[in-house]
């Protein structure tokens, strides 16, 4: 055992290249700009849950990797997404996080748009006649939108492969839980954490770090975890059970409260490349979506989801179950945020050089394979190996 010199500290860990990651992936501004283009600009991502737009003309806004979006359910019932920018002089069109509006009228010169993105009003438009500006060509920029299992997916790239090809079956395992009855978001939290977006992704893929959480140390056994991988860097894990009564003050979760196709003590997780996670704890579900702001700042959007039409008492119980682990006042989510910020403090300054993701347990238990799958896809899309992205 010995400490290391500066030169030794620069040396990559003595493990296969696939089993460690350079700190540059978190901190380099050029890499961040490329991620925005090659990853966030081209992959499907969850922009909302359908229950946030139950009625015609309901809308939600969402800043996705610094691209403002507005998601609207049209009068025809279809969910569409637009870049939230006025066609006239580019002003941000819709500011409210959510609402209901048949038309969106820009505050600036009152150009207006309908729920299908068509420009339907230009005040004093006769002055455009001379140059022949055609209002039918002044619609909003539509963003590809697809709904699967209640999740509203969007893709900024009109040329990207379709959603089903992107997902490669990664959502199939959630068919019964998310596709049986109607679900509803009851918790929405947007928290900006001072960390690179991948540091949060890792909290949902690092099976080893459950040792950090007192609630997980007490309530769950990790050796039974089984990891499934899908083309495109998606993952799901199954086989973990939770014994909630092992944590002081907590009771069991009843079968009557279980989500469709779930046992109340199930813990199942799905990770959709690059930035989303679906977590199911028997009676309640959480969905995380990450929106990078800068290399060092990330908006984490966490939703809590239950059954639509729950009695008030059941809803309250489900909220309590949610809040045990998840939410800003929970006993698990803040610990993950702490961990993500702690790694940022060293990688952002170059003080730390590498992270080791070398645990091998045959994709079971506390194998680091989920992070290796993620970084393999990251490397493929970026055209840069995660272990040496700047080719130094």
């Amino acid at each position: 055992m010995a400490s290391r010199t500066a030169a030794q500290w620069q040396q990559p860990p003595a493990v296969p290249d696939t089993h460690y990651v350079s700190g540059n992936v978190y901190s380099d501004p050029q890499i961040f700009a490329e991620e925005r283009d090659k990853i966030f600009g081209r992959t499907w991502t969850i922009a909302a849950h359908e229950s946030e737009l139950p009625n015609p003309f309901d809308f939600r806004t969402y800043d996705y990797a610094n691209t403002p979006l507005v998601i609207v359910r049209g009068g025809d019932g279809r969910v569409r997404t637009f870049i939230n920018a006025c066609s006239h002089r580019g002003a941000k069109l819709v500011n409210e996080p959510g609402g209901n509006a048949k038309t969106f009228t820009c505050f600036y010169h009152f150009w207006s748009y309908n729920s299908e993105g068509a420009c339907v009003g230009i005040p004093k438009s006769e002055a455009y006649d001379q140059v022949g500006l055609d209002p039918s060509k002044c619609g909003l920029r539509e963003v590809r939108t697809e709904v699967r299992l209640g999740l509203v997916f969007v893709n900024l790239d009109d040329a990207a492969p379709g959603l089903d090809s992107f997902l490669s079956g990664a959502l199939d395992t959630f068919q019964s839980v998310m596709g049986t009855g109607e679900l509803e978001v009851f918790h929405f939290q947007r928290s900006v954490i001072r960390a690179n977006w991948k540091a949060w992704v890792e909290t949902n893929m690092d099976a080893y770090h459950t040792i950090m959480h007192v609630v997980l140390r007490k309530t769950q056994v990790d050796s039974t975890r089984v990891i499934t991988t899908y083309p495109g860097g998606h993952l799901s894990t199954d086989g973990v059970k939770a014994s909630y009564t092992n944590y002081k003050g907590w009771g069991d979760r009843s079968q009557a409260m279980a989500l469709p196709g779930s046992a109340p003590d199930d813990l199942r997780v799905g990770n959709l490349f690059p930035n989303s996670a679906i977590l199911i704890r028997g009676t309640v579900m959480r969905i995380d979506v990450l929106s990078p702001i800068s290399p060092h700042e990330t908006a984490v959007e966490s939703r809590g989801i239950g059954i639509k039409g729950d009695s008030d008492a059941n809803r309250l119980t489900r909220i309590k179950h949610h809040n045990q682990y998840w939410g800003p006042f929970s006993r698990n989510w803040p610990e993950d945020a702490y961990a993500a910020e702690a790694c940022e403090k060293t990688f952002s300054t170059g003080a730390a050089k590498y992270q080791i993701i070398a645990r091998e347990e045959n994709m079971r238990g506390q194998d680091d394979g989920m992070m290796r799958v993620f970084y393999a896809e990251w490397s493929r899309r970026m055209g840069r190996p995660a272990h040496n992205p700047l080719n130094r």
């Binding site: 800003p328 006993r331 803040p334 961990a339």
Partner: protein, 153 residues
């Protein structure tokens, strides 16, 4: 009997000071047996009020007992409270107290940042000549709490 305004104000301020000191036992001693602590926030995204923290006295005590075992943000919290209105609540000897608060977080290196602002809607009751909390609804304006914390506001 006239309303014990001074005792009620003192209770609200004492609660903040005990919480700032992380004197959980001291805080619980200010609560009636059927106390309920809620933290809520209105979500303009969902157009619904959300419950982010919901504990009766027993589960709050269990939560506070576990605090030392948890990983959590370092440093201290300071709650700055202004008691606004004290109004009679439904039952005799019960009052609704509306206060505004700012909660500031100071890091170990001495940097202070605003953590949350909101209102305390407290229900207080007289018991054996003492004023006690019957309920607290901490209604947050701030919804982005950064890394958050399960320590009550």
């Amino acid at each position: 009997m006239s309303a014990p305004f001074e005792d009620i104000r003192a209770l609200i301020y004492r609660a903040s000071l005990t919480l700032d000191r992380e004197d959980w036992i001291g805080f619980l001693a200010l609560c009636a047996a059927d106390f309920r602590y809620l933290i809520t926030a209105y979500s303009p995204e969902l157009r619904k009020r959300m419950i982010w923290f919901d504990h009766d006295l027993e589960s709050l005590k269990a939560l506070l007992d576990m605090v030392p075992q948890h990983l959590r943000r370092h440093g201290t919290l300071l709650r700055h409270v202004s008691v606004g209105m004290i109004e009679p609540a439904g039952s005799p000897d019960c009052y609704t107290v509306t206060s505004t608060f700012q909660c500031l977080h100071t890091e170990l290196d001495g940097t202070t940042r605003l953590y949350a602002v909101g209102r305390y809607i407290d229900t207080v009751t007289m018991s054996d000549g003492r004023v006690l909390f019957l309920g607290r609804d901490t209604q947050l304006e701030t919804r982005d709490l950064g890394i958050g914390s399960h320590v009550p506001l």
